[in-house]
Point group: C2
Chain length 155, copies 2
DNA sequence: TTATTATTGCAAATGATTTGCGATAATACT
DNA sequence: AGTATTATCGCAAATCATTTGCAATAATAA
């Protein structure tokens, strides 16, 4: 979604320089959970950590695998909550959903050979005039490119 | 997919002006099936007709509903074949696949209120330079816009 | 018409995601 | 801290979309 959904939270305790980029991010999300009345639990912490440390979008199963959670429903429920909070976004490929933390919106390219998922900026991709002209109000979009990445192309 | 996949077949029997735009299209597809060694059967005819007369992309279930076929596997198998032939294309939304005949490539916009699916041209949407610069070879893409259509917006 | 074999239809298997519910633990309150 | 309140978890079972095995059927070739 190009419309920035994440609620920018001014955490007043910005002391100590974050050791890992991720920790600050994770804490921000946990803070948001509290503010929104959600309880901060172990499964939520681990799922958020799994998402924050992931280098690319992950499926629910992959996220479960990155945590000690064996129950799928917990993973799905948590992802659903995070999505409602605008913390993560989702896109589908071949019938399975991929999730990732929303930083700034971007689209995806997936290599049909190695499965690698690349991020690509989408500034240029506002709602097409065709739609706006027809009275549409676009709230989000997602684009997926399929092809072969440079590495795989180089054999 | 922007890359035109449909194999342009020069049907030498272009007599009789098509009464309905669809019939010519259906015949072309049936012809392609024959040429590729597929048998022309009732289920295939009906599925192709369902696709050719559909005003917008349809799910496998919807396509089954538009025919007298009660068996889902037949529908899925046929759609898979048509996809391999480059006759139809597929995109996913909320975990379900939508299919439609390939005319010229376009992307889609789905109204979150009434569910209507609109087509939008995609000429301007080649592979982003970000990707090509990184050595990617893009073979196809799909974009889905979500929002509210003019009709629904007008209450 | 008959033989050959692609296709169908059905049942059952998958795989992803969802839901009901009792057990558990996170916050609120004293 | 101790307890009540109730969100959340974990598990089992339910859905849903899609796939697969296989024997019965029907489209083409001979």
């Amino acid at each position: 979604m190009c419309a920035q959904k994440i609620k920018q939270k001014e955490t007043n305790h910005s002391h100590h320089t974050a050791h890992h980029t991720h920790h600050g991010e994770e804490d921000e999300i946990l803070q948001l959970l509290r503010e929104e009345g959600y309880r901060v639990t172990a499964p939520r912490r681990s799922i958020i950590e799994a998402l924050a440390t992931a280098a690319s979008p992950k499926t629910a199963k992959q996220i479960g695998g990155r945590t000690k959670i064996k129950d799928a429903s917990t993973v799905y429920r948590t992802l659903e909550e995070l999505k409602k909070l605008g913390v993560i976004e989702e896109f589908q490929s071949k019938g399975v959903a991929y999730f990732e933390i929303v930083h700034d919106h971007h689209d995806h390219a997936i290599c049909e050979v190695c499965g690698k998922i690349e991020h690509i900026p989408c500034e240029a991709m506002k709602a097409p005039r065709t739609l706006t002209r027809a009275g549409w109000t676009i709230t989000s979009h997602e684009a997926l490119y399929r092809g072969v990445c440079g590495t795989c192309a180089a054999k």
